[in-house]
């Protein structure tokens, strides 16, 4: 140990940039307190700390000193419910998180709703349900909003002022589309065999458009909508309008 300590001290001198004052000047009780607080599994109150300190040490003063010393550091000495503990500085919370991505597959329902939004936008939830013939669960829309591929774009000028949904730039990016107009139309869908060629003559597939400009029957979103729909990704103001 002695040799290691010495070695460390040597290192210290080599790299001694502008480290603190003379170490000798620091009161020993600060060392003791910092070791105790560091190793403790739980916050310790002043009385318990005082019990382990040498006689004559003013623990309160020492704690205040230690707190001041650590105030600007990455680790702070904080008092929690009258007990003392070291905590990483609050402004470094970002550092203490690890971000990870997990791949998730969209449910069939979500893909269906997404497809309808893509082709029929701007479209309300009721309209989606009309096309699908089933009720759309809140969860399905939430998941889609979380993907960032759809966004609420306005409110339909009809009784109840339902939200209208449309796709985002992220949607185009996800599906490698230059513009929404690149989505295959009726004939192409038939050509690929996805649509039955025997469909009735009245059957049509809309020409999709994600023009950011609101349609005539659309109102802009209400001011409160942003709060209400926290999940909804903000509309990108830079989105260029697409035919």
């Amino acid at each position: 140990m002695a040799s290691l300590a010495e070695k460390r001290m040597e290192d210290t001198e080599e790299h001694s940039v502008d480290s603190t004052t003379e170490p000798e000047a620091r009161p020993e009780e600060l060392r003791l307190l910092e070791a105790l607080l560091f190793a403790s599994a739980e916050p310790i109150d002043q009385a318990a700390l005082a019990k382990r300190m040498p006689d004559g040490v003013d623990v309160k003063v020492a704690l205040a000193q230690l707190q001041a010393e650590y105030a600007t550091r990455g680790v702070n000495l904080v008092r929690v419910a009258n007990k003392w503990t070291f905590r990483t500085a609050g402004d470094l919370a970002w550092l203490m998180t690890r971000e990870s991505t997990e791949t998730r597959r969209l449910s069939r329902a979500a893909i269906e709703v997404l497809a309808i939004i893509a082709y029929h936008q701007p479209v309300t939830r009721a309209e989606i349900e009309e096309i699908r013939g089933v009720i759309t669960s809140k969860g399905t829309l939430d998941v889609l909003l979380e993907t960032g591929w759809i966004r609420p774009r306005g409110r339909r000028k009809t009784p109840g002022r339902p939200l209208t949904f449309g796709t985002t730039e992220a949607f185009l990016s996800q599906f490698s589309l230059e513009a929404l107009g690149d989505l295959p139309g009726l004939e192409e869908l038939k050509g690929t065999g996805l649509l039955d060629s025997r469909l009735p003559s009245g059957f049509s597939v809309p020409t999709p458009s994600d023009d950011v400009a609101l349609r005539e029957d659309e109102d802009p979103l209400d001011a409160g909508d942003t709060l209400e729909l926290l999940l909804a990704p903000a509309a990108d103001p830079e989105t260029p309008s697409e035919g």
């Binding site: 971000e99 990870s100 991505t101 998730r104 893909i111 989505l183 649509l195």
Partner: protein, 276 residues
């Protein structure tokens, strides 16, 4: 346990020298083998192990073993083997070296033994120093209340354009086909085709182009295929029955037909279906 006190100078138990208690407590249980015992004995020489007298050490060991045997202490074979070897070494050390030494000399053997002892002692010293280091969780401690690194999960959704289009097509189609019943396929049945052809034959005394007739007849262009197919089949049947003649110049060329001339009606067994 280890109450052997042997005098280095005499190589005899110290107890004998200081004739107080005559009892020499000899116990090998405290030793980790003969080498350990030898090392303990050697330490009593109170000199640097490199300067130890192997001869004296051998004596000490042999006396110890002898004492142990006297009190019928059960000795492990190891101890006896070492005793025999030391006795041999001692005799070699005392005798003058043979002129032609084959194998190691007694001096070399003694040095080797001294080295083994030194090495054992060195490792013990090292072990001691190692164990005296501040040990983790005994003397020095890690963070008692570690802060976990929070994991923020970002779901990355996957879906392909194919998924999207399949889903869209499937549900659109499903809804359409579910509500609007499949429109009845307009297909010309064979009998329909035959009836129409029979009507046509009445008109066509000379060679006429079947396609043209059909085109005139067919209203809906989408029915073209089925009209052609059924008419052709019906025409073949009429030819077989001898009511009609067909003529085609080459494959895929326009098909001509006419009413079979009446004189040929007798030769029904050889219907004329000439393809030039």
């Amino acid at each position: 346990m280890t109450a052997e006190i042997l005098s280095f100078e005499t190589g005899r138990p110290a107890a004998d020298v200081t004739d107080s208690e005559p009892s020499l407590v000899v116990d090998v249980e405290g030793y980790e083998g003969p080498l350990d015992l030898l090392l303990t004995l050697a330490r009593q020489q109170k000199v640097d192990l490199s300067k130890i007298s192997i001869l004296a050490l051998a004596d000490q060991y042999l006396i110890f073993i002898e004492a142990a045997r006297k009190i019928r202490l059960e000795l492990a074979a190891d101890y006896l083997v070492m005793a025999a070897w030391l006795a041999f070494l001692k005799s070699r050390l005392l005798l003058p070296e043979p002129a032609t030494p084959d194998g190691p000399s007694a001096e070399e053997m003694a040095t080797a033994l001294a080295n083994r002892l030194r090495r054992l002692e060195a490792i013990r010293e090292a072990a001691n120093r190692l164990m005296n280091r501040p040990q983790f969780q005994r003397d020095i401690f890690p963070r008692g209340n570690p802060e976990s690194i929070a994991e923020i999960r970002h779901p990355k959704f996957t879906a392909t354009l194919f998924d999207l289009l399949t889903a869209y097509s499937a549900q659109r189609q499903q809804r359409v086909l579910a509500t609007v019943h499949l429109t009845k396929r307009t297909v010309w049945s064979l009998s329909e085709a035959r009836a129409s052809l029979e009507r046509l034959i009445g008109i066509a005394e000379d060679w006429s182009c079947l396609d043209e007739y059909l085109l005139n007849y067919v209203v809906d262009p989408s029915q073209k295929a089925t009209v052609f197919a059924s008419s052709f089949a019906a025409a073949l049947e009429l030819v077989r029955e001898g009511q009609m003649e067909l003529n085609q110049k080459e494959a895929f060329a326009p098909l001509y037909f006419r009413k079979r001339p009446p004189q040929a009606s007798g030769a029904m067994s050889a219907p004329e279906l000439s393809v030039e």
